[in-house]
Subunit: 130 residues, 2 copies
């Protein structure tokens, strides 16, 4: 399928997809004689993986590593294992921090729901941005 179709299916922009290709995150797709890129389902899989990894805060550089790990499941060497272990630790750390943050937000919400009186001076402040 052509790049527009891929964009539609993944929600990514055409430019982003070409950028990921340039950066080596997706393996060079088949090229038609016309110069048009031709994508298959494995490209879609890689892109979905990239989207998810990005959502949890990995950089494209890191995602490139993760993809290499993912797409070479027969790899067995110590160095690769170490890399994966490093990522795993990173992920574990992030989960821990997020849970702490979750707790804090929950506490704030509970408090907020408990004493629901009128005015709130920070609303305007909050509404200003984003």
């Amino acid at each position: 399928m052509f790049i527009g179709e891929v964009a539609k299916r993944t929600g990514l922009s055409i430019d982003a997809i070409r950028y990921y290709e340039r950066e080596g995150l997706i393996t060079p797709v088949h090229m038609r004689e016309s110069g048009y890129r031709d994508f298959d389902n494995s490209s879609l899989d890689s892109l979905h993986f990239i989207i998810q990894a990005k959502e949890i805060g990995f950089s494209l550089k890191q995602i490139k590593h993760l993809l290499l790990l993912k797409e070479n499941p027969d790899t067995t060497c110590a160095e690769v294992r170490e890399l994966a272990q490093g990522k795993l630790n990173e992920v574990g750390h992030k989960i821990k921090l997020l849970k702490k943050m979750e707790q804090q937000l929950n506490k704030l919400l509970t408090k907020c729901e408990a004493e629901s009186n009128g005015s709130c001076p920070i609303i305007e402040e909050l509404s200003k941005e984003e």
Copy 2:
């Protein structure tokens, strides 16, 4: 304490601290007549919060919101509650994705440990970057 001390204690750069102040993430500290910034422990607390929130993937803009929520625990209004709820959902989503990623990495690692034979063609590829 002066900014250099704060940098030492938080691990942040002096420039980053000043940048956070410019961006309104930390409330304007006391200024000496000389023009030197004078920090106290509450600044340190804010900075530690920023560091953690950054680690789990919040943008400075989002952290600004979170700090406003955090530092105004008496706020009770619906809009603020909604904002906090939104962040909470975001955090929940991130946790879910991270756990999925954790699982995938664990599977890879188990596989890697199971069949530990010799050569590994992607090591060089992996060593190249970062």
